[in-house]
């Protein structure tokens, strides 16, 4: 099940659909927990999902998963059919959640091409125990048996109602039918053969009699299914009828004495209880045609296909290359000083189309945060159970869309932040009541668009961050290298993002060992986002993640220093200007600062910082670009601005990354003239 199946499209679909169904199921369980019970629809839905997972898993030969799904299906079959009173929902939910977790782990193994070796037997055992605790063991067995066989009263034999009244000479044939090996449900195969006979209106008897019972399967498999047919047809005709049966491996047809048939029939007739109607489960619902059609209309509108992300990545790359190629053509040095009116007219048209194309490609990659947000319900639920807290999760703006790649990077940080909020922020219910807060805490997860960024805001109404504690802790752990007096409130709170920081005295199962927040920060940094923490003692903490909508193409401003080109993300530029020499201030340590409108800003001379040779070293000859990030500003000094351009972000080649640890570079890009420009990481610059 390892290498052969990796990258198999079937497997991909299996994993995709199964994960989707599990997510859906979790959502259902959580909703029903809120409502304090399962509605009939929910039970049916759970049953259906488990059933489907069972079927698909069995097809893929993941037998263990199928087996577990089957057990859960049994449980819900019981609940659906018996509607047991006083069902312990949370217990059932816990059980189903553990089963889902098991399947999830197996899915990950499948995805990674590892051996699918999880053993669900304990879970299956637990499920059985749970099932028997819901009801008496006896009734469980009965119900499960019933599930396989609703018709308790065995249909002993059947005489066709369309029995011909003719006085033709009848013969009796004995047909021994052997079904194909492993065709499954042999008893029902037999049943369908009988159905064929019904259609032609012949009388028959058959053995084994109890074909409604699973136990007959073995007999039919080994001894074959025997039918005594009393008919006016001849041998060939009977043979022809039986030949229509499906999955039949062999039919032994022979003629026997009529007396034998009569004898058998008489014996059996005596045994038949009267008034023994065959219970056929009534069709579950009559279809409301009007409604059906209405729903169908809505279905037709839903024209959606699934595309693998790797294809979209490729498409994005190509569009990126095209943007570069376009710049290369339009800004080609050969065109310099030529009068090319028509060329530029066409170039503008090309530009319009590439821009549109780019927008579309971006839009295609956008996915709503809904899934990611809703996954958090589960986290909140588990945390509350374990910690004995009461927390409501409020989701706002979950339909906000971000790039698929970004979603993958923010799922873990979000979960961590939510855990932190519940673990460190929200107080115990008793305490909350004593300070006049509602018993249940609220954690709000909100997403909204803001320009080219998406803001994700995690706020709680818990205890807030403890300023003094943070400072003490930071000092103790040696991560505070400034005078605490000089720090703003915000700077103090942001200390918790530093590696090796944890305000919690004890390590808990969820919030970990103080590796959390800096991991969160790293993940957010990876997608070019920023984090801000704000808190009010006693009334809660708010964490704002600012995430760019997309990673691959940014609006950049190109600058020149010596012969080197740099690109800055345009949204970080506050202003650019040519300073006067007189605005330059030096402190006693010879650190340069620039006075702008009465405020001092540190200056970073690019040429000296990156050790680039240039003729322009006097401030008044070059240009100052003021950048702002996280509320901090810095003035970059460069030779000149080249211009604004959309650039495609490429990561730096590995060998450069390995050789030099330049934290100020976020990547590189190709400019229109074919030269390479380095993209500056504003975070890194401001920090240095």
């Amino acid at each position: 099940m390892t290498d052969d199946y990796k990258n198999d499209p079937m497997l991909e679909v299996y994993i995709f659909e199964t994960s989707q169904m599990i997510e859906q199921l979790e959502q259902l369980l959580i909703t029903s927990e809120d409502e304090g019970g399962y509605s009939t629809d929910v039970i049916n839905e759970i049953f259906r999902i488990m059933h489907t997972i069972k079927g698909s898993s069995a097809m893929m030969l993941f037998d263990k998963v199928a087996e577990l799904a089957h057990s859960v299906e049994d449980l819900f079959f019981f609940i659906r059919d018996q509607k047991p009173q006083g069902l312990d929902f949370s217990k059932v939910n816990d059980m189903v959640f553990s089963c889902l977790d098991f399947i999830k782990v197996e899915l990950v193994k499948i995805k990674n091409g590892d051996e699918v070796d999880g053993d669900p037997s304990k879970l299956i055992g637990d499920l059985k125990i749970l099932l028997s605790s819901i009801s008496g063991q006896e009734s469980v067995d009965k119900v499960i048996a019933d599930k396989n066989d609703v018709q308790e009263v065995v249909q002993q034999y059947y005489i066709s109602s369309a029995r011909p009244q003719s006085e033709d000479v009848k013969k009796t044939f004995l047909a021994k039918i052997y079904f194909e090996k492993d065709c499954g449900m042999e008893n029902l195969r037999a049943f369908s053969v009988l159905k064929l006979l019904d259609e032609v209106g012949d009388d028959y008897l058959y053995e084994p009699k109890n074909i409604d019972d699973d136990r007959s399967v073995e007999i039919i498999k080994t001894d074959g299914f025997k039918i005594y047919i009393n008919t006016s047809k001849n041998f060939d005709e009977v043979q022809n009828i039986l030949n229509n049966a499906i999955f039949v491996e062999k039919i032994d047809l022979s003629e026997i004495q009529n007396e034998e048939y009569e004898d058998k029939k008489n014996v059996e007739t005596i045994n038949i209880p009267e008034n023994n109607p065959v219970k056929i489960p009534s069709p579950s619902c009559q279809v409301d045609v009007e409604k059906a059609e209405k729903e169908h209309v809505s279905l037709e509108h839903q024209n959606i296909i699934n595309v693998s992300v790797s294809k979209l990545d490729k498409l994005m790359d190509l569009v990126g290359e095209m943007v570069i190629a376009e710049a290369m053509v339009v800004q080609n040095p050969d065109l310099k000083d030529l009068d090319l009116q028509n060329f530029y007219k066409s170039a503008r048209q090309l530009n319009k189309i590439t821009t549109e194309l780019q927008d579309i490609v971006m839009a295609v990659r956008m996915v709503p945060l809904t899934g990611t947000f809703q996954k958090m319900n589960r986290t909140v639920r588990d945390m509350c159970k374990k910690l004995g807290k009461e927390v409501k999760l409020k989701l706002v703006g979950e339909e906000t869309e971000v790039d698929k790649n970004i979603i993958e990077h923010i799922s873990d940080p979000l979960m961590h932040l939510i855990r932190n909020s519940i673990d460190h922020g929200i107080e115990m219910p008793g305490y909350r009541e004593s300070v006049g807060k509602p018993r249940a805490g609220t954690v709000t997860l909100e997403a909204k668009n803001s320009g080219s960024d998406v803001l994700i805001i995690i706020s709680d109404d818990g205890n807030g961050l403890d300023r003094e504690k943070i400072l003490a802790k930071a000092q103790k752990n040696g991560i505070l290298n400034k005078n605490p007096e000089s720090l703003t409130e915000r700077e103090i709170y942001n200390l918790i993002m530093l590696p090796g920081f944890s305000t919690n005295e004890e390590i808990t199962e969820f919030s970990g060992r103080g590796v959390g927040m800096d991991v969160v920060r790293n993940n957010i940094d990876k997608v070019g986002g920023t984090i801000e923490v704000d808190s009010l003692a006693g009334s809660g903490t708010t964490i704002v993640l600012k995430i760019p909508l997309t990673l691959a193409i940014i609006d950049g401003m190109n600058l020149k220093v010596g012969d080197t080109r740099f690109t800055l993300p345009i949204n970080t530029i506050k202003e650019s200007f040519r300073p006067k020499d007189s605005d330059l201030i030096k402190d006693p340590n010879n650190v340069e600062m620039l006075m702008v409108r009465g405020q001092c800003y540190p200056i970073l001379r690019m040429h000296s910082h990156f050790k680039i040779e240039t003729d322009i070293t006097s401030l008044s000859e070059g240009i100052i670009v003021m950048l702002e990030q996280d509320g901090k500003s810095i003035c970059l000094f460069a030779d000149e601005l080249i211009g604004q351009q959309q650039v495609v972000v490429k990561s730096l080649p590995k060998y450069i990354k390995n050789l030099k640890h330049i934290s100020e570079l976020a990547g590189c890009t190709l400019l229109g003239d074919g030269s390479i420009s380095l993209i500056l990481d504003v975070n890194g610059l401001v920090a240095s």
Binding site: H51, G55, D74, M185, I246, V287
Partner: protein, 120 residues
Amino acid sequence: MKNVMIVDDTMFMRLSIRKMLEKYDFNIVGEAKNGLEAVELYKKLKPDIVTMDITMPEMSGIDALKNIISFDPKAKVVMISALGQETMVKEAIILGAKTFIVKPFQEERIIQTLNKLLGS
């Protein structure tokens, strides 16, 4: 070439069946992901044969079968069932399903079954 319609609520099963059938020159004229779609689509496409899952949202395979048979009594519908659905399979046969295939199934099995039903 025989026209087949596949009904199943999971893309996984639809794709599995499609792949198996396409190898043997069956023409997949349509796929439906629930009973409602199946009935509509059947009326539109009139396929030679239908593979029908039983448990589906919106409308179950049994109800879809019923609707299809009442529209076209000669319809050839093969139920695709998992173990544990004996009762429903039986109902399906009573309602007029030609036969059923038990999940998990092999390629040869479904091909043989369809060929036999279409030949007859």
